[in-house]
Symmetry: C2
Subunit: 283 residues, 2 copies
Amino acid sequence: MAKKDEGSRVRDALRVGAELPDPGSTPVGPGKKAKALAKFEGAGELLSGLQEALYAEGVGGGRRSVLLVLQGMDTSGKGGTVSHVLGLVNPMGVHYAAFKKPTAAERRHHYLWRIRKQLPTPGQIGVFDRSHYEDILVPRVTGLLTAAERRRRYGEINAFEQELTDTGTTVVKVFLHISPEEQLRRLKARLETPEKRWKYNPGDLEARSHWPAYQEAYADIFKKTSTAHAPWYVVPADHKWYRNWAVAELLSETLTELKPEFPEPDYDVAEELAKLKGVGVPS
Amino acid sequence: MAKKDEGSRVRDALRVGAELPDPGSTPVGPGKKAKALAKFEGAGELLSGLQEALYAEGVGGGRRSVLLVLQGMDTSGKGGTVSHVLGLVNPMGVHYAAFKKPTAAERRHHYLWRIRKQLPTPGQIGVFDRSHYEDILVPRVTGLLTAAERRRRYGEINAFEQELTDTGTTVVKVFLHISPEEQLRRLKARLETPEKRWKYNPGDLEARSHWPAYQEAYADIFKKTSTAHAPWYVVPADHKWYRNWAVAELLSETLTELKPEFPEPDYDVAEELAKLKGVGVPS
């Protein structure tokens, strides 16, 4: 029990509560950039080793996987998190999916249809860059979702995530929490740097103008969908170095608790070694 | 023209010819481990920058993508190549697919069915760990493919790759060439190291016993499917440091030639900057 507690220090500290932390704060772990970068490297080695074991477990017939759900306002660093944190592990074991505005074809299906198609397979770490939460968030803010429909979707999403948990997928939901001031700086940087202009979208300002409505919608989402089996974590994301460290740590803690194991061989090792001894070099 | 030649030094040197290079040789580039590792790091930065531009181009409406096809005998390092070389770039832009023995469901379809489902989307680098070439290789060696069916498949594959090229996907086909002596060492290492045992499969020895037949089948594949639009490259793979450097270089040269470009904004930059000036901090 004590051990489990120790292994969930960052998760416990970042689990969503009644009040969100300041986006520029560092509620747990390193409070300075240099220290965070150093710790991040260490976390990388640990994470990479755990991911290999999870992958191996999947190859050996294991059913478990991890799904990292990334949500946040524009420029909150979803892409940067994928690049830096998932960049630490073997690409063989990562399945990345971005969910943009649904296409006409996607809209003809239930909103979970396109989500299900991108779920991680056993042994994988799946990453959702935006997710099914957009299907509550956006229509709610734009006034297209009735309260009844919203309640229905909350129920569906909780049941969906329960199903994932029951079938071996650990869901890690992360809200990258930035301040409107930091967003303004990042939007400006995107416009001022030619190689960053492709990341800018005039629609970002429209979304920004609904900032309080989005925060309110997120608060409601946390209240209704932060369940015991799939809690929300809030990562203060004004500092990229803190964000990267924190998400790496959330994944490391999760994988450490899963204790993925290299599968036992389903063959006789001694027998195979003996066979190898007798094997010649083909000519 | 001279410039293009210079930009294809590694591709020219490794393009398959009548005779395969020695698996322990280093026909082009660094001949020593330390130098290869140093050069590999440099290649990483270049590759990562090019990949970001390709990805951005895709977001901006571009149609181009790259498909890296990895083939080779067991233990030749397909997985290691993915981990090391694709590990250099942003996971957002990588789509990895492994093709194992077809399932019963897959066998009910044309062999290209499951392949098509895993093609890279615009802006992505796709990686095939084994590929449609297994559908000639394995049935040929096990005697299940008639000469007529083999000819038909060669035709289909060449047409398929022509279609990919025509629709913007640059196909880079790499044969990781190891010696049977090195394979024996690696199989032994897999058996002797508990965390590597999951990579070992008793069937590997069965495949190994057909080594000459596999080499012959590969030689035929190179002859029939190394086309101008999708040539085969042979990477000597007994040295992992050389293999990683060479594949990174093949990708870098390919992407350098593609010259992916950050898309021009489809909005007015000055206008958006002016809008940002007027934007307040929402409360």
